[in-house]
């Protein structure tokens, strides 16, 4: 073993890396629990990649084959039901973990200088995750996914000037058809994973270079006792323990609720029929519900523009402000809290929670 290590070290100089990693530490304090949510998101992403590859072995995109292949996967392929169910559960939990990770970073001010790039890459990763969810939702080509995608892509059409063009690019034509599956499939399994890999590599690189953010209190009070734990093996072992628990949770959810539960569900149902009347309730995935509900509640016209367009503009401005949040507080002295940002953060959380609840209760 030692000889093998020496052999590799001689060629790759991994001793330097090992030396660097052995000195890596993680701040240990009462808020350390939030550090694990990034790792949880990464775990779910790894599960997504692995189960996604397995699903790819049988999935066949196309209006005549997508639904049939998913039905084949869940009914005929050995453990196919398990793979699809874990893929779906893991997708939802990944978004949930990413949201918690992002808000924990926001409220602990961990996004502040010098971690602006980490924050931006993280927010973009969440956006990409949601794009994964949106593009994956259509792939089974069932009734619900078809109509939800028609509504979702239709919203892009509300944008001025580029709206119709954007909608046609997404749909591959005027309507949601087999061409749309082809595009969504391409994005889901090629474009998005490629972009995601780049951004996650950057995100992890930034974290490794900058280390975990320390609590604000440590910067304010230099006398405060600072505790650290070694990344290797202490933090990594804890992370592995959490991953094991998450794996078991995924297995339990997949076995007991293979088609999801409550608002988080993905029954295969009937095949999409463009000529059939839309189902009574068309709703997006839960993480799009706040935006969907907001657009639904807006009046037809606000001032001189259409209500839907107004909503999209407001959401875009809020999203942009969220993305550049670290730059908005860049001039704050080190260790000071931005109360305006805290208020903004809680306003965003309250808005998302209230709109999501309304979305499910006002159906």
């Amino acid at each position: 073993m030692t000889r093998l290590y020496s052999w590799v070290d001689e060629r790759l100089k991994i001793n330097t890396l090992v030396d660097y990693m052995s000195k890596k530490v993680v701040p240990s304090h009462s808020q350390s629990i939030w550090y694990f949510f990034g790792g949880m998101t990464l775990f779910f992403f790894i599960v997504q990649v692995m189960t996604g590859i397995l699903l790819l072995l049988y999935y066949r995109p196309g209006a005549d084959s997508a639904y049939e292949s998913v039905k084949f996967i869940v009914s005929e392929v050995t453990f196919g039901w398990l793979i699809r169910s874990i893929h779906s559960w893991s997708a939802n939990l990944m978004i949930l973990a990413a949201f918690i990770h992002m808000f924990s970073v926001f409220f602990t001010h961990a996004y502040r200088r010098p971690r602006e790039m980490t924050w931006v890459s993280g927010v973009l990763l969440l956006g990409l995750s949601m794009a994964f969810g949106f593009s994956g939702y259509l792939l089974p080509w069932n009734e619900l996914s078809f109509f939800a995608t028609r509504v979702g892509t239709g919203m892009a059409g509300a944008l001025p000037v580029v709206g119709d063009f954007l909608m046609e690019v997404m749909r591959g034509g005027e309507n949601v058809t087999g061409a749309t599956i082809g595009r969504f499939f391409g994005f889901h399994v090629a474009v998005l994973p490629g972009l995601f890999t780049v951004f996650i590599a950057l995100h992890l690189f930034f974290i490794q270079r900058q280390g975990m953010s320390e609590p604000l209190e440590w910067a304010i009070n230099n006398q405060a006792p600072k505790k650290y734990m070694p990344f290797f093996p202490n933090f990594l072992l804890r992370e592995l323990l959490i991953w094991l628990i998450l794996l078991n949770i995924l297995a339990v959810l997949a076995v007991f609720f293979p088609d999801g539960i409550g608002p988080v569900h993905w029954p295969l149902g009937a095949k999409a029929d463009p000529f059939a009347p839309p189902p009574a309730v068309i709703r997006p995935e839960w993480y799009f519900m706040f935006a969907f509900q907001m657009l639904k509640l807006l009046p037809a016209h606000i001032l001189f523009i259409e209500g839907e367009l107004f909503g999209i503009i407001i959401l875009s401005i809020a999203g942009l402000a969220w993305l550049v949040a670290p730059f908005l507080v860049a001039r704050k002295p080190e260790g000071t809290k931005s109360h305006k940002m805290i208020v903004f953060g809680w306003a965003v959380v309250t808005f998302i929670v209230v709109m999501t609840i309304l979305g499910y209760f006002l159906e």
Binding site: L82, N234, N248, V252, V255
Partner: protein
């Protein structure tokens, strides 16, 4: 005041008094009202002629909502542009009713016996009907004359017998394709029942009055009246409409066979056909009744006391009838049992949350086999029945096995999860201990 005087609008001194007299004081006021009434009718019912004064006058003194003037604007004839005078004759451009009635071609109100010929003036004239409703047949009156209703009315002068308006109503006639029509498919049983379920009205004709009640309980009535399946047979589908005649013993199988073609063919090839013909038994009705056609039951075929076979056959009648009946009963019973068994397992899999859509679909194949067997039973050939049930039995067995496999998989998933949880828990405990050990 003579009966005909009530038709006068302008005879103020005899007909009206008090407020009425004030309203209809002068011809000028009368003409103004007539003009206004006509304008209203023309505006709202453009099919009516501009020069038709009938409704203008009649609507002035007919305050009954069932009066002809109130009903007519909704009538199919009014919508086709016909006015009162097109049926009743007279000159509708005249103001005075006496003048109208004195006009050329005035026919007034037909007596019941005159009604069929009255309607046939147009409806039996192909040259006229082609202008208004080309696809409509023009042989209704000829058929009516051959019907029991027609014979009673035209032959015996029995005015209680149904004429055109008895079924189609009058002045508010709607197309039979419209739900508002008295002869719309869903309404036909009720229309016929108006007379045929009225024991007092039907007294003296020597026919029962429970047909509607029986029909409502039958498979046909259930489909039509409860499920609103307008493809299900109503009275006229078996009895005819304008040529309404009860199917006799010799024609009943032909009537049923119009829809139940395969059953009719099987029965015609069976030994029963000859026997029934010789004995003068009605074919289908012998087992299925006439109006009370109930859902066929398994026990109808067989040798139990409640079976229909023992009504005619006995063990010592020198035929193989009861042995055949027993075999057919067994074959069908096995198929029913196989279906129930497969469906029960499918339901169990469904309740457990397993995907059983394929099994549900395959069950339809078994249902088809049951329907086919119930058809073949009319051949009264035990071998043919057994042969027909065989594919259904195989299909049911496949569904059963597939459903059992689904249920087995359900338990396999849970056992697998249990084992996986044990392994993961063990690893988690080991990791936990390792962390404790490292941090010590």
């Amino acid at each position: 005041m003579g009966g005909r005087d009530i038709y006068r609008c302008n005879d103020n001194s005899r007909l009206f008094s008090g407020v009425s007299r004030m309203i209809f004081m002068t011809n000028r006021i009368k003409r103004t009202l007539v003009l206004f009434g006509t304008l209203v009718l023309v505006c709202f019912f453009p099919g009516l002629s501009l020069a038709d004064n009938c409704l203008g006058c009649h609507s002035g003194w007919e305050d009954d909502e069932r009066a002809p003037s109130a009903l007519f604007p909704t009538d199919i004839h009014a919508q086709a542009g016909l006015g009162c005078s097109d049926c009743h004759g007279g000159n509708p451009e005249l103001d005075d009713m006496d003048d109208v009635r004195a006009g050329k071609g005035y026919r007034g109100v037909p007596k019941p016996k005159e009604i069929p010929a009255f309607c046939a003036t147009c409806h039996s004239d192909p040259n006229y009907m082609i202008k208004h409703n080309p696809p409509l047949a023009t042989d209704q009156f000829d058929k009516y004359k051959t019907s029991v209703h027609g014979k009673q009315l035209l032959g015996k002068g029995d005015i209680k017998a149904a004429n055109c308006v008895s079924c189609h109503s009058v002045h508010d006639i709607a197309s039979p394709q419209l739900p508002a029509s008295t002869v719309y498919a869903l309404n036909i049983p009720g229309t016929c029942a108006k007379c045929h379920s009225d024991a007092a009205y039907m007294a003296g004709y020597g026919i029962p009055t429970d047909q509607y009640d029986d029909y409502a309980k039958s498979v046909h009535g259930h489909a039509l009246l409860d499920k609103k399946d307008i493809g299900a047979p109503a009275c006229n589908d078996c009895h005819g409409n304008h040529g309404a005649t009860p199917p006799g013993v010799t024609s009943i199988s032909a009537v049923c066979g119009m829809c139940h073609t395969l059953i009719s063919e099987e029965f015609s090839k069976s030994p029963h056909k000859k026997a029934f013909d010789e004995m003068g038994y009605p074919e289908c009705e012998g087992c299925h009744s006439n109006h009370l056609v109930l859902e066929p039951q398994l026990f109808w075929v067989g040798t139990s006391d409640s079976s229909l076979c023992v009504n005619c056959h006995s063990a010592d009648d020198g035929t193989i009838a009861l042995a055949t009946a027993e075999k057919m009963h067994s074959s069908l019973q096995e198929l029913y049992d196989a279906y129930d068994r497969a469906e029960e397992k499918t339901d169990e899999g469904d309740v457990k949350g397993m995907m059983v859509t394929d099994q549900r679909f395959a069950l339809k194949e078994v249902s088809q086999a049951i329907i086919k067997t119930r058809t073949i039973i009319h051949s009264f050939d035990a071998e043919a029945v057994a042969k027909t049930t065989a594919p259904g039995m195989q299909a049911a067995e496949k569904v059963y096995e597939a459903s059992v496999a689904k249920i087995d998989e359900y338990y396999f998933r849970r056992y697998g999860l249990g084992i996986a949880t044990l392994i993961i828990t063990f690893l988690a405990v080991m990791l936990f201990l390792k962390i404790k050990s490292v941090e010590k």
